[in-house]
């Protein structure tokens, strides 16, 4: 089905008509009796998977089932940071694939995802952190990433509001800078992929919760949902914080713990910050949205949680750190605060690939940093699902790495210490 393209002309045409005739961005079909593949979870990762399955692998008789509304989970709850300067080679490969796909995503989807490569700056506030980031910088340079270490003077030039007092508790000793990183409009990524997938014939079925995974002789045969039985031989589970719950239905216990990660935004103010700043030692990161709100995130709460509401001490910890780093924000009022349930693995790297049940695939464990990976994750997971073997970039991320001891340790190298 060909959708009318969004353009300056369609905008003008609809303006003439008081915007009453915009077509629906996607259909809301009832589920068919059977599909070639069903993706569970219509977040960014699930929708990107469906889009690339249809586009790259010509699998159009597929569905995405979602218990709530599309993009209502972690895709709409993150702080929209996009970067790829991870330490380990497999991580660099997948996050850089994602970051580079973000560059052309608005054109590809004909949907403005507002990717803004404004630069991501990771502060070094202890000698240890400075050395750790120098190590990452060398690893990234060998992998061909455009990143560099910068001096405290350069940090102050890029971020004038930063506290550069050399006598404070955690002075700025430098920063690790990825100029091609930045932010995106997180909802638009979900909506753009949904519209794109729908145009290629994918059924996106919202308010349809999976309540059972039907199997026969160790093979998937279908899904029991709140909208009835859907037959299929291939199921891709992409349910982030709820992945353990869904995989339990197929008797697969996951190496995952679900925790709450909070974020908050301030009242809108005039432009003060035109890049993303991550202060990892003190646990806080901040950027400014196009509306002028400061978008703030920190570390996870310290215990398992499925409630999408976090604890105040965790918030206070983040705010304390950021006020020390940016004294200018101390009197800002916060507008909104929320939590998302993140799926944490032992090595803080994702799990992508096959499972012990034939026809059941899983893509999870993105933890606190999944948004940046959406296009790359969908790309490799679609390929894995279509060809029944891991995509080359996904090979390192299979679940059996926990049995074999092949960890992709990003827990130390990740932006925020866990």
């Amino acid at each position: 089905m060909l959708k009318p393209r969004y353009s300056i002309f369609s905008l003008a045409r609809n303006a003439m008509n008081y915007h009453k005739d915009w077509e629906k961005a996607w259909r809301s079909p009832q589920p068919k009796a059977e599909y070639d593949a069903v993706i569970v979870g219509a977040g960014g990762h699930g929708l990107a998977t469906a889009y690339y399955l249809a586009k790259n692998h010509k699998m159009t008789n597929i569905a995405v089932v979602e218990k709530g509304w599309l993009g209502g989970g972690n895709t709409g709850r993150n702080t929209t940071i996009i970067r790829s300067n991870y330490l380990q080679d497999p991580s660099i490969a997948i996050y850089e694939l994602a970051r580079s796909l973000y560059e052309g995503l608005s054109q590809e989807l004909n949907y403005n995802v507002m990717f803004s490569p404004r630069g991501v700056l990771m502060l070094c506030q202890t000698q240890h952190e400075l050395r750790a980031f120098q190590r990452t910088a060398h690893a990234n340079r060998l992998a061909g990433l455009d990143c560099r270490m910068i001096t405290p003077a350069e940090v102050k030039e890029i971020v004038p509001i930063i506290n550069d007092d050399p006598n404070c508790r955690y002075p700025i000793l430098g920063a690790y800078y990825q100029p091609r990183g930045g932010t995106g409009r997180h909802d638009a990524v979900a909506w753009g992929y949904a519209r794109g997938a729908d145009a290629l014939g994918v059924d996106i079925i919202q308010n349809c919760e999976v309540i059972g995974i039907e199997r026969d002789g160790g093979k998937v045969t279908g899904l029991q949902t709140t909208k009835g039985l859907i037959k299929t031989k291939k199921v891709g589970v992409v349910t982030a914080g709820n992945v353990s719950t869904v995989m339990d239905m197929a008797g697969v216990r996951m190496p995952i713990e679900s925790q709450c990660l909070q974020a908050l935004v301030s009242e809108p103010i005039k432009p003060v910050l035109d890049c993303v700043v991550m202060a990892n030692t003190v646990h806080g990161y901040m950027s400014q949205s196009d509306k002028g709100e400061l978008v703030i995130g920190g570390g996870t709460d310290p215990y398992n949680n499925y409630s999408q509401r976090g604890s105040f001490p965790a918030l206070e910890h983040t705010i304390t750190a950021l006020i020390e780093t940016f004294p200018i924000i101390s009197r800002l009022r916060m507008l909104r605060q929320w939590g998302g349930i993140v799926d944490m693995t032992g090595d803080r790297s994702p799990i992508i690939g096959k499972t012990p049940v034939e026809g059941l695939y899983v893509n999870c464990g993105w933890g606190t940093g999944g948004f940046k990976a959406i296009p790359g994750s969908g790309w490799v997971f679609a390929d894995t699902l279509a060809n029944d073997r891991p995509h080359k970039i996904a090979e390192a991320f299979t679940m059996d790495r926990f049995t074999e001891g092949r960890f992709i340790d990003e827990s130390v190298a990740a932006a925020v210490a866990h």
């Binding site: 679900s258 215990y303 398992n304 499925y306 604890s311 032992g346």
Partner: protein
């Protein structure tokens, strides 16, 4: 804010007075039989978790009180604590009965062993 009571020393405090140590009732298989441990058993010990949505059992340390580890039964949807009990004990029978999924299987196995 979670309010916790230590079953060892009786101190009550909020979550910042305690340290959370993840899933409770995980036995280290290599303690009794180091040679006979398979990679899968070691993986399950280190990484595989029940990660219950609902009633969950976890380890907590009384940081600013007696310093002892103990166990707590908490609902991960409502954040309600159902019980605090000793590190080597099983939860109170009425709480144990409410366990579902992976936890129900585990406690059934423990009760069978005890018999």
């Amino acid at each position: 804010m979670l309010i916790v009571t230590c079953p060892v020393c009786g101190a009550e405090g909020d979550e910042t007075d305690f340290h959370f140590g993840g899933q409770a009732h995980i036995a280290r298989p290599a303690t009794s039989n180091p040679e006979g441990i398979s990679d899968v058993q070691q993986r399950d010990y280190l990484f595989t978790r029940i990660n219950a949505k609902g009633l969950h059992f976890e380890r907590v340390r009384c940081d600013r009180g007696c310093g002892k580890w103990f166990n707590a039964a908490r609902d991960t949807m409502t954040m309600d604590f159902k019980a605090f009990y000793g590190a080597t004990e099983l939860p109170p029978p009425d709480v144990m009965k409410q366990a579902k999924g992976g936890w129900a299987e585990y406690f059934e196995m423990r009760m069978k062993k005890a018999k």
